[in-house]
Amino acid sequence: MSAASLHLAVALDGAGWHPAAWRDPAAFPKDLFTAAYWAALVAEAERGLLDFVTIEDSLALQSTRHEGPDGRTDQVRGRFDALLVASRIAPLTGRIGLVPTVTTTHTEPFHIASGLATLDYVSGGRAGWRAQVSGRGAEAAHFGRRDIPGLRPESLDDPETVRLIHELFDEAADVVEVVRRLWDSWEDDAVIRDVPTGRFVDRDRLHYIDFEGSRFSVKGPSIVPRPPQGQPPVTALAHARVPYEFAARGADVVYVTPHDAEQARAIVEEVRGIGNDVLKIFADLVVYVGEDARERKARLDELDGAGHVSDAAIFTGTPGELADLILDWRRAGLEGFRLRPAVLPTDLGAITRRLVPELQRRGAFRSGYEAATLRGHLGLPRPAGRYAGSRR
């Protein structure tokens, strides 16, 4: 087993992934809307040599209902723009990848490309993107440009819902395609600063992307020169066939949600079958780490008035048990894990200070960063621009 090839990321969201995490004695609920809070979390993740952090986002308030706000006052409500949080943290960190969530459904593809390319510049090549489809009617109503009836888990098989899911993911695929073309629309050496001819750029090394889709068209080129990584890695969370296909075609990393090693094997087989050998498959896991993990979860469940449910499997146990699980599931063909700390900063600290040393002891995780960019951590080469050499 090669130590460098196990990838670990953490997903940061509010006070943690348990809905009552903010009420844990170790939480900092009054600090969620400060830069210092996020800076401390990402610094801790970097201390643990993790590949990257993701930062959750959505263009609507958090809710237990899919249709819209639930009016609950006992859970975290409100959040920052994830891209700007990532950018705010970038100068304070040196190696860790920064992967904000940006929706493909409402945000202009041109703005997504510019924003993430800029994050790549300010972080020196550590930007990534969690491309997320929005199926919530509440988000659409914040823009007023289209109606989305909203996806409800209990009606996922209705023909109308199936049509909507296809529509949203087709659109997301177009958005990813446009963003990638925009990142390539400047060749790496487009800025020439040629004093004798007075030319700052070689316009022949700038390219119109001329994307014409059924939902939008984008002319290009980007206003931002090609980012340091060329293409910041694109990631996506996927639970079913349609998003698997979206991820396999458009993403560099996909997060899947198996509940045991057997299921992990089946999902890896299905995703691989779609045909993208270089796609990295990570499993998402909600984690309570420590000798008191079960008691902590039980206490929070009681505070919230319900047992914690999640799309991903929920792990409670010691760092050693979590290391066992990771190495076991990994044999199913997973390249990495995106761990969702149930309580911040408690479970993040347990990951960086106890799980990581345990994995290092077993020779399964890096003992120092070997690369400076997110692509480097993931073992992804820097791609050549698709337009390079094609002169207009």
């Binding site: 809307f33 830069a35 800029t118 994050l119 007023g144």
Partner: protein, 441 residues
Amino acid sequence: MKQVILAAHFPGVNNHTVWSDPASGSQIDFASFVHLARTAERGRFDFFFLADGQRLREQRGRIHDLDVVGRPDALTVLAALAAVTDRLGLAATINATFNEPYEIARKLATLDHLSGGRAGWNIVTSSDAFTGENFRRGGFLDHSQRYERAEEFLRTTRELWDSWVPEDLVADPVAGTFAAADAGAFTHHGAQFDIGGHFTVPRSPQRYPLTLQAGDSEEGREFAASTADAVFSRHSTLEAGQAFYRDVKSRLAGHGRSPDSLKILPGVTFALGDTDAEARENADHIRRQQVSPQTAILLLEQLWNRDLSSYDPDGPLPDIDPDVSEDSIIKGRARMHRDPLKTAAEWRALAEAKRLGIRDLIIEVTGRQSFIGSPARIAEEINEFVQADAADGFILVPHLTPTGLDGFVDRVVPLLQERGVFRTDYETTTLRGHLGLENDL
């Protein structure tokens, strides 16, 4: 004595940036932004200002290649600069045509939190179908709707910022209350935006990030007087500056505002020297670098609205007249000449009288009014403009990236401080606080 307001403009995409100078650095690397921002903060400036662009300029149907091309996304850069500065205000131009209020309100409120109350924005609109080709909504905003959209955009963002009151964020783990039940609730029904729901960002330190407005038209002046905190204007003579200042400030009362609640901030360039004579030499040298022979022809084309590529930059002006048709030879930038035939006649007369070729004429007629002189002269002139109510301060546009502000901060700022018209240290933590606008909300 009035206090001078100073802001630093990161030189963007225009022919004022002398990229050919050996001292010129990257216009895109983050280190360049850090250098200029930290220099401005060292000089106790009020804020740092970034322009914006959403499509690369074209002229004669080709991407413009002579000036600096390419820039980062402004708000993303400002969020990163918030980490490497403590007090400096952070403002960006935002195009209200190709953005939606919910997203921009969210980003600005986020930036305001992440910077501890230092966010600002200059709201602009575009009726430009050319730029619209990069966006879903296209370019179809009628010219007459530009201020309507800007006004409603701004009003909508303020409704969103008011959707959380400070008490809505409780975060009391013992009581078990995180946020009020209706925190963030809003509805807005208007001609430009018909939206409703819940806003995700709690009340930010400034409540409303600082709003700047640029534009000299009657509509622009009224818009500024009704809602803006500062006007980004053109610098001109003392008398013309005083006339503009009087006009805009006199409009405030009609909107129930005090004259001090709107700051007039012309954008200016400057050239320093040990002596006034040396500064004039430096200024001439800078102008010749800014207007290369190729640039001179392109700038002339922008008035003539014709392909003049066959003309000699050192030769006489064309004897044909400008093309005054609607179709513009330049895309991605507004046409700057309102009456091309009249301007062309003036330029011809000037070239004749002074025996100037194309390039020398362009150097003469396109130079922005700026401060040229020894540090003592520049400090004196800046103060004179402010004390005589021709401005409340200035947005400085250095000609070099990223070191163009160094000399100003080292040599001019101390002289303004000696006169008691510029702060020696920050007295407040927010951008509104720096400008004395925190009590207007």
